[in-house]
């Protein structure tokens, strides 16, 4: 479980996050949604330590991450897996080397154990025969799956996904969503997804946080969000014609 308590963050004069508090549950897919520029990505980056918070605290199962230094954060960071919007695979490494990278750098496993783990992770994301390909040689959907395999290689407790469906066709998006849901349940991770994708919101929003103008505006689950009665949430959820049609 991850708890965000009264987190504020600004850049210069501009205040991006204002006193955001929320609890992200273990074994659930937690979604952070909101319009562009609402502060979702900044919140996620604060949570993983890429940005420092101005005030407030971020707790990983009671451990105050925001007050730790680089060295103290290391054990928690090794419990975090992250799927980036652009996959962030290392261009100079093959698929196998990408997935093996955290194991090589951070674990004391033997070569055979690392190979077994890589094979398991790649099979888990349905990529059993792409070991020797480079990121430039695979499709966007495959890159996302390799990035998921790399993210779960260290058996993380916490999985962060930054817009996992961006740039993917609807069918591949569903495959990625299903994969994230399955591994969250299978490994009992605390999964946090920053998304714009309405399909994701409706199909896997166990715990949804809606951010508006840097503030926590609304929270609930996928059933509640459709009838929240909150004008800003409705404007966001029912922006597309399909959603408007569904609403009718």
């Amino acid at each position: 479980m991850i708890e965000v308590k009264n987190v504020s963050k600004g850049f210069g004069e501009k205040q991006i996050l204002k006193n955001v508090s929320h609890r992200f549950e273990k074994g659930k897919v937690n979604l952070i949604i909101g319009g562009s520029g609402s502060g979702k990505t900044v919140l996620v980056k604060c949570m993983v330590g890429l940005f420092e918070v101005d005030s407030g605290r971020i707790e990983y199962d009671g451990r105050n991450f925001s007050e730790m230094n680089f060295k103290e954060r290391k054990p928690i960071r090794q419990e975090i897996g992250m799927l980036f919007q652009g996959s962030a695979l290392f261009d100079s490494m093959t698929v196998e080397q990408n997935v093996m990278f955290p194991l090589t750098m951070l674990s004391d496993l033997s070569q055979q154990e690392k190979t077994d783990r890589v094979n398991f992770c790649l099979q888990r994301v349905n990529l059993p025969s792409s070991h020797k390909l480079f990121p430039a040689e695979i499709s966007g959907g495959m890159k996302k799956r390799v990035a998921i395999a790399r993210a779960i290689a260290m058996n993380p407790k916490y999985l962060f996904c930054d817009e996992p469906n961006s740039g993917l066709d609807p069918k591949t998006s569903i495959v990625i969503d299903e994969l994230i849901m399955e591994i969250t349940e299978e490994f009992q991770m605390t999964t946090i997804i920053n998304t714009h994708d309405m399909n994701s919101v409706i199909t896997m929003g166990d715990n949804i946080l809606f951010i508006h103008k840097g503030e926590k505006w609304w929270s609930g689950n996928e059933q509640e969000i459709l009838k929240s009665g909150n004008p800003e949430v409705d404007e966001f959820i029912f922006a597309s014609k399909i959603m408007q049609h569904l609403r009718k």
């Binding site: 330590g49 054990p75 960071r77 090794q78 962030a88 290392f90 750098m105 951070l106 962060f160």
Partner: protein, 246 residues
């Protein structure tokens, strides 16, 4: 005021390189890979430039040597000392600032804008140490060898040019390159080379590491890396020369 911001951030960046490596074996392998990338792959261009520099120095010295009282072997001496003291360490390192500096800045800059550096940091890896430290060590070790090769090839190029054009007999040229040879000049050149190698890798890595934006900014970082490295090489060339030779 911006210069103080960059100076402060540069020193913090340098300090961050010296954290304890996650795995020494990985760093050792990366140093060897970088030596190949920075050193071996630059051997061709270094040799080509050096041979022509030596040839041109020889012919121009002969052309300017109008006093019949000055012995012809002075041409060999001038070619030797010019290559050893100035041309090999400074010009070759300026060339490397263009070749290696832009490559380092664009590689690290691209990793920054495609979130590969963020991925390293989230894993708990010291990204600057992992990416930059091996490049710096590799450059500091391999650049002196490149410069030594450049000295040798440049002086040989002068001899070949003198022989082919017939402006100086081999015996005179060889006598010149042996005449009053000061081994300290090579040491001096090595000191300059090590400082320049550090400047090129640290400045280029800094520019790449703090790239913010997209492809355009990666290009701008790469350009800045080359310009700043070159300017600082020239400034430090003057400082080191004054400190050591005078």
């Amino acid at each position: 005021m911006k210069i103080f911001f960059h100076l402060g951030r540069y020193w913090l960046f340098m300090a961050s390189l010296f954290g304890k490596p996650e795995k020494f074996s990985i760093y050792r392998r990366r140093v060897l890979e970088e030596m190949e990338s920075i050193g071996v792959s630059s051997l061709g261009i270094v040799s080509l430039i050096s041979v022509f520099m030596g040839a041109v120095i020889t012919i121009q010295t002969v052309y300017n040597l109008v006093n019949p009282l000055v012995p012809l072997y002075v041409v060999g001496l001038v070619a030797r000392d010019t290559m050893i003291i100035e041309f090999s360490p400074t010009i070759i390192m300026l060339v490397l600032a263009g070749k290696v500096g832009s490559s380092i800045a664009s590689e690290i800059g691209t990793m920054r804008v495609t979130e590969q550096i963020d991925a390293l940091e989230i894993m708990g890896i010291n990204s600057s140490g992992y990416l930059v430290f091996p490049k710096m060590i590799a450059a500091i070790f391999i650049a002196p060898f490149l410069v030594l090769i450049s000295m040798f090839v440049g002086i040989a190029g002068g001899w070949v040019a003198g022989e082919l054009s017939g402006v100086i007999p081999s015996t005179d040229y060889i006598k010149g390159i042996q005449y009053q040879f000061l081994p300290f000049n090579v040491t001096f050149a090595m000191i300059k080379t090590v400082v320049f190698a550090y400047l090129i890798t640290s400045i280029s890595s800094y520019q790449g590491f703090y790239t913010d934006g997209g492809a355009l900014e990666v290009g701008q970082s790469s350009t800045r890396a080359v310009v700043y490295s070159s300017v600082l090489i020239l400034i430090f060339d003057y400082i080191i020369t004054q400190l050591i030779l005078i």
